[in-house]
Point group: C2
Chain length 221, copies 2
């Protein structure tokens, strides 16, 4: 039996009344499935009709290159979605694998049904579509943001564009960032020690200063 309390934590169901969630799980054919660790949930090449919601545990989105070398693209956990971009794309064909990283419970819903106004014309459709568009838009933004950083040729430029973003966002030359050094290096796809070296170099050149997660950028004189 699907737990309604849990569904309320899933962003795509934001703003949907509890009573509507009941009709929703019927209307969207929601079903819960448990997977054992290392089980494949989707394979690359599968046609995807449903989106998955991780209720318990975690899944890895993985890719495999021509020579069979595997990479973990991302980790999905706590009430997050996977498969939505494939199930809504033209082909519907997944390019990646989805694997249970540990024993994991998944709720599947038939996302394409939210587009069809069903016979009982459940009022949650409108809310869910708005949520979906918002989720996809905002993810688009964060991805574009990240590409902006990664596209810079040097560690220094990557760092400055990343830090500039937070300065602009917080409207101050002095601000906090949400990542520690390890996470920051990983996010920017650079070597942590090289990053540390470059940060200190810029501090010596009086371009910026920092302590822990707090940074300050200096204007040119």
């Amino acid at each position: 039996m699907i737990n309604i309390k849990i569904l309320k934590k899933v962003r795509v169901f934001n703003g949907i009344e509890e009573e509507d969630l009941y009709s929703m799980i019927k209307c969207l054919n929601a079903r819960e499935v448990s997977y054992q660790k290392n089980t494949y949930i989707f394979h690359a090449g599968d046609k995807i009709f449903e989106v998955g919601i991780v209720i318990n545990g975690a899944v890895h989105i993985t890719d495999e290159d021509f020579w069979g070398k595997k990479t973990i693209i991302s980790v999905i956990e706590n009430y997050s979605l996977f498969g939505e971009v494939y199930s809504m794309s033209e082909s519907g064909i997944s390019l990646v694998n989805v694997v249970a990283a540990c024993d994991t419970d998944i709720i599947f819903i038939d996302i394409n049904k939210i587009l069809k106004l069903c016979s009982n014309s459940c009022k949650f459709h409108y809310t869910m579509i708005k949520n979906l568009l918002r989720i996809l838009s905002e993810r688009n933004l964060t991805l574009i943001q990240k590409i902006g950083y990664l596209s810079k040729p040097t560690t220094r430029e990557k760092l400055l564009s990343y830090l500039s973003f937070y300065a602009k966002k917080q409207g101050k030359s002095s601000f906090d960032i949400p990542l520690n050094r390890n996470q920051m290096a990983e996010y920017l796809s650079i070597d942590r020690s090289a990053m540390s070296r470059e940060l200190c170099r810029m501090r010596d050149e009086k371009i910026l200063s920092f302590e822990k997660n707090h940074f300050e950028l200096y204007d040119k004189i």
Copy 2:
């Protein structure tokens, strides 16, 4: 007066009948505006209510860092959208500038209205929502794809993951890519000469071969 023939070329209106396009331009408050070269269409910080469609000319999406250094993030032309991710995000605040790259004609539409079932219940809403979700999903995919390449530490790994993708996509170890060397280097954010050197190195190591846009990947023996 807005040209219906032109709207039919815009992807978000795919599958909408010509007669519906007429009611649509009313329902969504479509309006056409001309901009002179170098005019700002949106500024970073603006709240975005409408999406723009480039009908004629081109616009540059630009970013400016803390020190005022500008970068062109992307170029939008021929019947493509801009502003949709901001207008549908939570805040609605643009983080980027949009500037007319030359004399340019834009059609603006109030995208959020497609969510509201209007009083005359125009039947195109459903189609447009489906198109929008598809556009956003597929863009998400291409962005994630690109981040996958950019995240690799070396030029060689960037190239191999990029080429692997096309091998997989075309289901053959021998395939064409859609970019020439310059474009490929730009897309992967690497130096063209370094890329060329690395490609030739891999050819010498019998990992792959190429001629123009045609590549072949070799299995390990």
